[in-house]
Amino acid sequence: MAYQVSPLQRRLWQLLTAYPPEWREQRGAELVDTVLDLLGPGATRVGPRLAVNLVVGGWLTRLREHPPPRAWLAYRIRGRRLPARWRAWVRRDVTGRFFIVRDLAFRIAFLAAFLGAQGLTFGALDPWIGWGFFIAMFAVGLLLYPLGAVRLRLRILERHGFDEYGRPLPPPAWSAYGPRPAQQVWPWLVAAGGAAYALAVPWQIVLSEWAALDAEQSPVWIAVVDGGCLSCAVLGFVLTGLVAARLPDRLARRSLVNRGRPVPADWRIVAVVVSLYTAASAAAAVARAAWSGFEIDSLLVHVAVLLVAPACLVAGLVARHVERHGGPVVTLRDLAAGAFGVGPMPHHPTQPVVADAAPPPGAGWPRPQPPVLGPPLAGPHWPPA
């Protein structure tokens, strides 16, 4: 006998699109039937209050299944793997509509926030300069982003134990991270930091002094040069990454157990460099706000550079030390830990230290999903044993 769906049921299923698809698949029939019971026989329409209740309930469910802000930021910015609790969310995010648009929009917003710090540094001089930054970065992003977006999608899926179609891989394929060899690390690290600073910081100093000295300089010209400065920095990052990707035995790769293809690099060290650069800029900006005046500002920018440059040097030296003495398995996090004091250095060569606290193969990950959803209501699983 064919199952007839009434207009009321159809309307309820429409409202249930506010719920996550997995939830709808497992609980939708139950919720629809509960609503039909509540409406009673003969009901033909859903009242506005009930409709709002269902939609709000759906969005709150989505919100509840959303990763916490910090994990979400790490995932969004660096494509970092989220714990198993949010695997379903990740799959929905990556395979859902407008993923590319959403991701690009977030990255542009992130860049805008980053440029906000720059804008504070230069904003007091002329708004054109801030716009120059933004336009240049946006243009570079638009040019480069589509090239990496597809790869990003695949990388995130693979990192969360899905194949390219979003189908779950069997547990042995993604139960743990594999170790990463520590060879040829320090050139990568030093090159990334060096290229970024060599391109960005001197330009910042020059422009800061130049614009402050020559108040009659054309703002358009300043904006073009200023935007070019940041474009150079971005291109520096990209070129460094491309060169690093061709280095033999590069460190910034992590393999999933039993997977032939390694997961592409995540640019932790670039994040560290950008963070430092942003911190230096923000420090200069705060100082500018506190003490206006050319001499102080110029002095502070120089002080910032003087503080950051040794940090880069320390990072390089520690990378070299760890690469020589740290044992066969070292990660970029270990290097950052040694360089910037954010964690313990690796001690024992035989004890793998990986970026995330990975359980032993076959145990712990994937953790069993919490029994929130229960078995699906339709199909041969109903009723559950």
């Binding site: 139950e30 509960t34 609503v35 209050r49 209740n53 709000v56 309930g57 469910t61 929130v372 009723p383």
Partner: protein
């Protein structure tokens, strides 16, 4: 504990119930004052299941309607008991205050 949560837990104290019965029980327990919508109910059930206070005890299809039954866990029963004791103490204190005020007003 929010009142709605307490009422949902209380509705399950008698034994496993499905969504429709829980909504009716909540309305009955509150004297018709609290009417929990289905979207709110299933959100609460998800949350309480995640917290280990409620568990799914079974499922069936009755007259073409999908039913999933929820029951209180031991932790859920303990939470209801503790909240009931707290409310009882509060009510007792409130009664004493009101009685004192009434006596004061009479004199």
């Amino acid at each position: 504990m929010r009142e709605q949560t307490y009422l949902v837990l209380l509705a399950l104290a008698d034994g496993p119930r499905h969504g429709y019965v829980i909504v009716k029980a909540v309305a009955e327990l509150s004297g018709g004052r609290v009417r929990i919508g289905p979207g709110t109910l299933y959100g609460a059930l998800d949350r309480l299941t995640g917290e280990g206070l409620v568990a799914v005890s079974g499922a069936e299809i009755v007259d073409g309607r999908h039913r999933r039954y929820y029951r209180l866990t031991e932790a859920g029963m303990a939470a209801v008991t503790a909240e009931t004791a707290r409310l009882s103490e509060l009510a007792a204190r409130a009664r004493r205050i009101v009685a004192r005020l009434a006596l004061g007003g009479a004199s």
